[in-house]
Subunit: 349 residues, 2 copies
DNA sequence: ATTAGCACTCATTAGATTAGAGTGCTAACA
DNA sequence: TGTTAGCACTCTAATCTAATGAGTGCTAAT
């Protein structure tokens, strides 16, 4: 037998063990693997191989007389090298479109629905990172006077992403002045993000003299106030109850409690997930890799959501380490593609 | 001893038992009550009274050799007739204002913060029922053209409640037309709620002839589209993890699971809570009174949130039946007053 | 009306026993 | 040299038993 033959056999056994553990939530023994292998190898041989796999850190034993359980490293190897990459079924894709489609008028709603769909189809938690105007290119700015000293500042990034905030102004402003001011800002936009726009205005303000200085300053003041309450991005997390109901948590109150604490601190999770949202497709974080206190027993998958070429946000699934990686990978990838397609098509109009 | 003396004694004992149970989460025995009563009565006498209380349905025994636990009826009697009504402490009030104040520019954000504050201070779940423009009086309508066939419809109920939706229109519209149309709708508003406005427009549409018919129809179409994706109201629920960590759930996976299922169906809970939001202050629903599947082991308190005289929404706390009613009653009442004051003051400007 | 005394109930806990799942090792075998 | 049957060993999980003790309800005395 050649070296690669041995390796293949090892991997096959690792795969079987991991998949059996994912299905059963309990340790897997040599006998079970032998049966699955249709007796091409005896339990004793399999025990030897399982011993090796444990030695190399892919498996571990909860206790002497138990079967084996995958380690984080085992899962990682499985995800990277062993499991087969599937595509989402057309049937599921259709279901997703049905859930998501009606919400395509509003990006936030769309991603909320997407995360709800992920939660529903995965029976675990679904999440989405939703961009806001604050970090996007603004296409149009409008001012609507509400009274003498109040105007509504409407920031339009694109048709699905709009923010409006009431701004109090010191000097009264007529309707015409408001229109003129908005027109000025609109000429300044030129494909800049909010942040860049503000910086550009600040520079101009320092450079300009006389009466025009006031126009720029006024614009800047209003924008600053309007954006002050707008968050950088929103994080949506749904279906956490399904997560807590998974056997690893339901059977162990302490683990459940740790999980809930971890989920409560959404910022920490968001910060971690943000690092994984990249144009290169689905990413997987397993167990300790998650690096969020309380979520050591969990894994998550993320995928980017793009409009055209620009990644604008992300979606994903959070579950126990013992999750169905092939299925969920396909699911997350499918939802990501589906949403991206919707956004891109919308963008092109 | 007169009849009322006996009654007072009974109530005192019921009070002691309920408060002890709230504090300890376990059944309360006669000995404990006797000690609390500073030996003015012997445990045997107390047992007799406890027997009466059980006979009348205020207490029950988990099993023969356990102490007593309050029934729903017991809690109800306690809440209605026994417990003393406190006021929130100035210290807590200050804390709440600190948490809520920065969000007063936006009603939704304000109530979100309020529910978060309730969750934090109660160590249980806090919730809020947030009104939207759809069920409110609209003060001003504005149309912002986004392109030839798209306009942004901005509905302003008041400075804290604004909704904007992109609407696709069949016939192109110039900027001037948009302004004129908005002006027309604004003259029609006159203190009507969205729903009433639509109905009034529909009536006018049927009555009008000729060119003006189109103006009305067009307005109606746009408003209908704009409002189609707007929900009637929003429901915010925070701090559910603290709720699941309460001993009654943490020690019993089945109960925890039922609770999580119940919380997942937010609509059912919202529908129930809506019935309790009335101008007459704090209301309490206990155990089975909640009438939401899965939440039989919970109670909630609600209080209205008003702007001036009009109730616009509500806030409250959801926890185990075994909750500190006097404290939470004061808390919910305090937050309700605090928010209502903010809104009213804002409204008066 | 109150209470001391007491028998009784029953959940909880600890300890002991057992069953069995799964292992690692050894020695035999292909 | 890789594979495998056999077997002793380990440790969990389940089941049982007994002891503990918290709390009750009843009775009879005050």
């Amino acid at each position: 037998m050649s070296v690669t033959d041995f390796e293949q056999r090892r991997n096959k056994i690792l795969e079987l063990i991991i998949e059996a553990h994912i299905a059963s939530a309990s340790p897997v023994g040599s006998e079970f693997v032998a049966r699955k292998l249709r007796s091409s190898l005896s339990p004793a041989t399999i025990r030897n191989i399982m011993g090796e796999l444990e030695g190399d850190g892919y498996l571990s034993q909860p206790h002497t007389s138990a079967g084996r359980v995958p380690t984080d490293r085992g899962y990682r190897f499985y995800v990277d090298s062993v499991m087969d990459v599937r595509r989402i079924s057309l049937d599921e894709l259709r279901q997703i479109e049905l859930l998501i489609r009606p919400a395509e008028v509003d990006l936030e709603l769309l991603l909320e629905r997407a995360s709800a769909a992920l939660a529903a189809l995965s029976q675990q938690a679904g999440f989405a990172v939703v961009p806001t105007v604050k970090q996007s290119r603004v296409r149009q700015v409008e001012f609507v006077p509400l009274g003498v000293r109040k105007i509504l500042c409407v920031l339009i990034a694109n048709d699905e992403m709009i923010a409006s905030h009431v701004v109090e102004i010191v000097e009264p402003m007529t309707r015409d002045e408001a229109v003129a001011l908005a027109r000025f800002i609109n000429t300044e936009l030129g494909g800049l993000s909010c942040r860049e726009l503000m910086e550009s205005l600040e520079r101009r303000m320092l450079a300009e003299r006389d009466s025009f200085y006031h126009v720029v300053k006024r614009s800047l003041d209003i924008l600053q106030q309007a954006l002050s309450t707008e968050p950088e991005e929103r994080f949506v997390l749904e279906g956490t109850s399904a997560l807590v109901s998974q056997p690893e948590f339901a059977n162990d109150p302490r683990k459940a409690h740790a999980l809930l604490k971890g989920l409560d601190a959404e910022e920490a999770l968001l910060a971690r997930i943000r690092q994984d949202i990249a144009p290169d497709g689905v990413r997987v974080r397993i167990g300790r890799e998650v690096q969020v206190a309380g979520l050591e027993a969990c894994s998550y998958l993320t995928a980017p959501v793009a409009a055209g070429d620009a990644v604008v946000g992300g979606i994903g699934v959070l579950g126990p380490k013992r999750m169905d990686y092939p299925r969920l990978r396909a699911l997350v990838e499918g939802v990501s593609r589906c949403v991206t397609e919707l956004l891109t098509r919308w963008d092109e109009r």
